[in-house]
Amino acid sequence: MKKIEISRRKFLQGSVALCVYATSSSATVIPKTTTKTSTKETTNIPYLCNMCRNKCAGFARVEDGIVTKLNPNQYFPKSRNMLCPKGNAGIDALYDRDRLKYPLIRIGKRGDGKYKRVTWDEAYEYIKDKLVKIFDEQKDNRSTLAYCNGEGFNKDEYIKFFGGKIGSANFLDEGSICLNTKLGATLLTIGDIGEPDVAGSDFIIMAGANRYESLITPDSIDMIKADKQKLVVIDPRCTVTAIKADEWLPINPGTDLALCLAMIYIALKDELYNKEYVKKYFDDFEKLKKHILNSNYTAAWAESKTTISATKIEKLTKDFFSAKKPLFYLGRRSVWAKNDFQFRRAMVLINALAGSINTKGGIIFGQPIKLPDEEINQPYYSNAQGRFDLEGIVYGSAKGGSWLNFREKLLNGTAPYPVKAMFIRKHNLMQNMPNIQKTKKMLEIMDLIVVLDTIPSDTAMMADVILPESTYLEREDMVVSFNRLEPSLALRNQTVKPLYESRSMQDILKGLGNKLTMPLFEISMKYDEELQESIKEMGKIDAFEDGGYNLSELYKHDISTRNKTLITKTFGKEAYKTLKEKGVWYPNMNNYHKEIFNNSYEYYPEDKKLYTINRKYRVKCYIDKLDKHGYDAMPTWKDSYDFTLPDKRFRLITGRYVMFTQSATTNNIMLRDIMKTNHIWINNAVAKKLDIAEGDIVEIKSNIGRVEILAYPTNKIAPNVVFFSHGFGSSSDELEQAFGNGANDNQLIEDKMENIYGCAVMNETDVQIKKART
């Protein structure tokens, strides 16, 4: 019997460590004394989870000021009354003893982890001195400060502060190491990013997504609950999603585009597509038809690329187009190969050819609940220069940019101006993007690195100043609107007061704003001619007020007051009350929401779901701008997409386990209790040849790095491919659980970029493998 990745308690090694929770919570007391709980003051406070980017809703049971249990929230349409293992283990993120507790200033060399505890004011003072010096030297070019964010919540506010108020153009987020190609491909093809109606579909093809190990609500839940729905999973690995599918088609990594092209070819040639829909909505359909048919993307051709048999491709296409409600699921997952944009675009076109847009079971537009924007007065800095990381990229995200291009331009000296300061919020740069050595070099050229985080990540260890942010259970956040088909508002309430000296992001920025406002205004007065003009015209005080130079403007009122004002004004008192009590609100919730079966709920009656809305849109087969930049205006296979594997090497692919959110949760003691570490999947026949047995430590080398990792020989992967999960192998020894545990994929993955959105390509690295020791 296999020992690894098999959950049978006898085969997993125990850990003796106790979390803070285990010694402080009443729930850990042995049964005979639990009656004492009746004397405790217990409240159930609705909150929104933040253990991953998805956001589910829950109720925190708080007993005498301690969170003792997190339970799912039955009112939230998105998360459907569930919490995953990560959500349950949120308690152990709150009470993680390795948490950042106080503001810290570096006293050793960067990366050696030597810090001294300081007060918040000392930390702000340090930042102020450094920033004043940098902006003075850079003549008020505010973009010499870059800022980045990896957390879903409060991102807009973070941008308002550093982009809007301080005036930097250089914001980076996880989009270019995550899903920007998918968002972009959908937006450019049908004019909207849409939302898949998984529950309404009777036939789903899933490629480039692993919904049972990378949970997205409600999709993951709806897939398993949908009766009579056929699920075909395309994946190089036999994942849990593949195991639970009706059919799994193993594919040569990076060739999903070829499969899509053949599907389009067959649909066009055999006229399987929805003619009525195409006639009504398609632009340049004839161009697409001509291109695909002339390119001869036959099933036999696709077989040579994908290794999926031509017969199966033919059948899959026919089944898909003859289904009542077919859906080619647009995965939200990393960028796998150089052709990723075209692959995602081809998926959208297949949905469109089947007429599965703006209709039940397809990609729906729906109607989200609109929240008003809180406007702020943003200063104009005439010396602030624009961002440079989108040069050479066709589209890119004007908001979140391109990490690899940004880093490369700073390192090779082609950036038009230096970047001297970096503010990093919950974004673990030292683990999250390919080729960590380059990230380290980029950080080393900074004069100031400030990290806002909850844990001492590898990136925090590179910081000059570390500011401890409170976890999601310790703060109220601004209300958020979710989903389109079953829309709702959800509110993250504060469940307990911030521990140690941690502060919410808003409080951190408020303090920072108060400290920086005048010194930075003076820098602008020195260099900004337009500001000098307006001071001449209206005097210093009015120029300051009018220009919006008060950096803390947004934080005049605390979050609680802002939420109350905004929600009451827009949706009424009752909505606010419901959000505080139930964490969720949507129109008619009291009438619509009901339990339909043991612990399962209905959120909207069928006839109230907006499957189809009245909207003008077009399906774009041909995109001129791509052509003008020398890229394919229509999905096309290029010879350069063929991945050639040198002799005795393997293609490395990456992904995740269900209990981990990248590197953010590998220090969580509860999650490590159920999955101890990561392992490399290697085909069992190959492993045998290389004399590698389960549990052996193997050495993996790529062109840029080397790691050691435990071996997991398995029949679930192709002989020429190896896989291991992202998020492990932390180098920060402040993380007791994560430090040195497993291997970090980005030590090996080469920094290759696709040029449509400037996204890092994750699965185009080859490696060699050898047994290191038993």
Binding site: N81, G87, S220, N598
Partner: protein
């Protein structure tokens, strides 16, 4: 007074272990993989890549089967293991002498040494935690993303579990041993 049981729509299990985590958090189970009241058993998938039989691989949520004729209760020399008023097989840590007879007697491998309370622990349907507070769900049932678990009163003909057991085929583990489990696996 009730007779609690659980039906498992186990084919919907995706082995995410939310149930294990929720159980540990709710019931204060110690860290360590050899210490848990519930677990998900998995089998190896049959075949050689790429010809794998995906239907050969199932995930089996497993735990104390809450037998009506519990061997662990029968062998306990101190009556530490007992039936409570709801038919739940419970353990009284004060009376447990760690003789481990119950561990050997249990055909489902459902009991383990709980080192802090010094008792041989197992699942009790959250009787002393959630049910004692008046809640109607177990931690594992409540949190399950794919809603595998249906919990309720077998004596109540109108309960959802009774309805499910009337309308869907199901089986019990090691039924031939005559332990009469109150856990039912839906097919």
């Amino acid at each position: 007074m009730a007779r609690y049981g659980m039906a498992l729509d186990y084919k919907n299990c995706i082995n995410c272990k939310a149930c294990e985590t929720a159980c540990k958090e709710e019931n204060g189970i110690l860290m360590g993989a050899d210490k848990h009241r519930i677990w998900v058993g998995t089998g190896e998938i049959e075949g050689q890549y790429p010809l794998l039989d995906i239907s050969s691989n199932a995930f089996y949520p497993s735990q104390c089967q809450q037998c009506d004729e519990a061997p662990c209760e029968a062998v306990c020399p101190t009556q530490a293991t007992y039936y409570d008023e709801n038919g739940v097989v419970r353990v009284n840590p004060d009376q447990c002498i760690l003789c481990s007879y119950c561990m050997n007697a249990c055909p489902y491998d459902a009991r383990y040494v709980e080192e802090r309370g010094m008792t041989i622990d197992k699942c009790n349907f959250c009787s002393d935690t959630r049910l004692a507070r008046g809640e109607t769900t177990t931690a594992c049932q409540n949190t399950c993303p794919t809603k595998v678990r249906i919990f309720g009163d077998l004596d109540d003909p109108n309960s959802e579990i009774s309805e499910v057991l009337r309308t869907r085929e199901h089986y019990s583990l090691k039924a031939h041993l005559g332990t009469k489990p109150k856990l039912f696996y839906l097919t």
